[in-house]
Amino acid sequence: MIRMGILSLAHHHGEAYISNLKQMEGVELVGVTDDDPLRGQTIAAHNRAQYFHAYEDLLDAKPDGVIICTENNRHRQFVEMAASRGIHVLCEKPLATTLEDARAIVDTCNKASVLLMTAFPMRFSAPLMEIKARLDNGDFGDVYCFNATNQGELPTKYRAWFADPDLAGGGAIMDHTVHLVDIMRWLTGAEVKTVYAYSNRIIHADDVQVETGALEMLTFDNDMFATIDASWSRPQYWPTWGGLTFEMVTQRGAVLVDAFRQNLNVYSDKWERSNWAYWGSDMNHAMVNEFAAAIRENRQPRVTGVDGLRAVEATIAAYESDRTRKTVEVKTA
């Protein structure tokens, strides 16, 4: 039995992970903690999970692994807490908000010999895994470029800190760049070489102080290039939270992928908007299951801390480009 804990519910994905863990065979949820006792106790009670008042108490219960769902800029301190006790870590994305923190997180886990996995659920998306298999099978030939979007609604409806420049480390760029950078690295094995980014704050200009619109142009070390639309540009009445799409242009033509297309259209008098009810496979479940399996089998998980670090490096380069209005080289931390 692999014993798991959840450190903080600041990120709303923590709630999904509770239910994932509770349904998982061979895994026991030790419990959850949170900075906000009311929020933590409420969520724990709803999910019939044990609530720990202090982080130390949960760690003292000696889980094999923890999932860190704090605000983005606090990942490092929680990773260090877990690693120092020899507890394996699955860390919410982005791995950190600075190059220094991301590097330190990777180094700390290496030194402590604990597994470090970055929460990139898209690697466990069934449609994306199909694309990866076809790519590896040579069905498409060379990949030339990606035209990608990861657009969402303003995430402050879930948690206010998502738009806090310190706690989140930025806005739409910080929130959305890492997913597609990781997908492209994973699919092609190429590393990001340069980034150009341009952001604005026209949508929700009065609600938040961080960028809400962002377009990025990336080049890779194999001459591939890509754009990413990282904008928080889905309106309140959009049928779902947002989505992730890409067009992959190859020697054999183009493939259009819409990772969250597997929906029912539901129209009900109960809502002011039509609703897309997602019936595709639960990628969070598959991701958390992989973390448990890596611990059980004492092997590296399919997504590592270095994958998280590489995505942070591209994101930091995007912010530098947005400031300098130049295409910038990605710095390897």
Binding site: N147, L215, T227, D229
Partner: protein, 334 residues
């Protein structure tokens, strides 16, 4: 109003059909050989001219449906002869040429009308109107896509000749540069990449362009010559401070063909195919006819045509250098 059409390819044919629905008279077509213009001259019972010079004395308006690299010389000739000009997009192959044309037409007192037909497509015109009415507030992030297969030609495929057409970043994507600026105003900087820059041998081409506008809005423009014939699809998304407008030609196609025997012969250039009561090309030419006959201002001006060429040229430069390219303000351009 006597109109002479230069070029008898797809555009010459389409413009002729549009002019036929106006009170203007089609005087004739200019083609390199009598043979290639045969069908058109017969249909409209007109002459075939073997050169623009030969045609000029007989017309009031010259409609240039010739390859891009010829627009400059031909339009200068027409202006010098005091003829009004309708010019297929792009207005010219370079910014310098486009500016020269505008000045020559001003000096000659003739009109210069640029056929950026996308502004006349009902879905694009309606989206523009919705933005103008404030339905989605100030535009913030605009995404425009246009995808088809590589243009094919029986002979002399000038579309694929970078020097003549400007390639995908100019020939195909200029439609959406112009539309983006119609929605969000002048562009300020351009960052671009295209497949054939690094892979000249690639069997497909694809361009990606990020525009920043002086208004603060951002546009993402993508163009594909990468799909199997006869695919032609366009997509539009305008995210504004109050909402979102989206359009996908595939998603809104009123007819889906799942017929067993497909016609192998796709046209030389991929074309839009949503049936509407009046062809957008006809809407465009009618508006140009009124501009010429009554002096009304059409929805697209020569200055817009120049700006689109500026963006295309900057995109080509950026794809080459890898750095964003700043666009000269239109205020400084004239």
């Amino acid at each position: 109003m006597r109109v002479g059409i230069v070029g008898v390819g797809f555009m010459g044919t389409t413009h002729a059909a549009a002019w036929a629905e106006t009170p203007a008279e089609i005087v004739g077509f200019t083609a390199e050989t009598q043979k290639e213009a045969g069908a058109l001259s017969k249909q409209y019972e007109t002459r075939v001219y073997t050169s623009l010079d030969e045609m000029l004395p007989d017309v009031d308006v010259v409609d240039l449906c010739s390859p891009t690299h010829l627009h400059h010389t031909m339009a200068l000739k027409a202006a010098a002869a005091g003829k009004h000009i309708v010019c297929e997009k792009p207005l010219a192959r370079t910014t310098r040429q486009a500016k020269e044309l505008i000045m020559a037409c001003q000096k000659a007192g003739v009109q210069l009308l640029v056929a950026h037909v996308v502004r006349f497509f009902p879905e694009y015109a309606m989206a523009h109107a919705a933005v103008a009415e404030g339905q989605i507030g100030k535009p913030a992030v605009i995404r425009l896509h246009r995808g088809s297969y590589r243009p094919k030609k029986p002979a002399g495929n000038w579309f694929l000749d970078e020097v003549k057409s400007g390639g995908i970043l100019m020939d195909l994507m200029i439609h959406d540069y112009d539309y983006a600026c119609w929605i969000a105003g002048e562009a300020e900087s351009v960052s671009a990449r295209r497949v054939t820059q690094r892979h000249p041998e690639a069997p497909v081409d694809y361009g990606l362009v990020i525009l920043s506008h002086r208004s603060g809005a951002l546009s993402h423009i993508s163009g594909a010559w990468a799909y199997p014939p006869p695919t032609f699809r366009t997509k539009l998304e305008i995210a504004g401070e109050l909402g979102l407008i989206e359009f996908d030609s595939d998603g809104t196609a009123p007819i889906q063909n799942l017929i067993l025997k497909t016609n192998e012969g796709a046209p030389d250039v991929g074309l839009p195919s949503s049936p509407v009561s009046e062809s957008p090309y006809t809407t465009q030419i009618k508006e140009f006819f009124h501009a010429l006959a009554e002096g009304t201002t059409p929805r697209v001006t020569a200055k817009d045509g120049l700006h689109a060429v500026q963006i295309a040229e900057a995109a080509i430069l950026s794809a080459h250098s890898g750095q964003p390219v700043t666009i000269q303000s239109m205020g400084d351009a004239s």
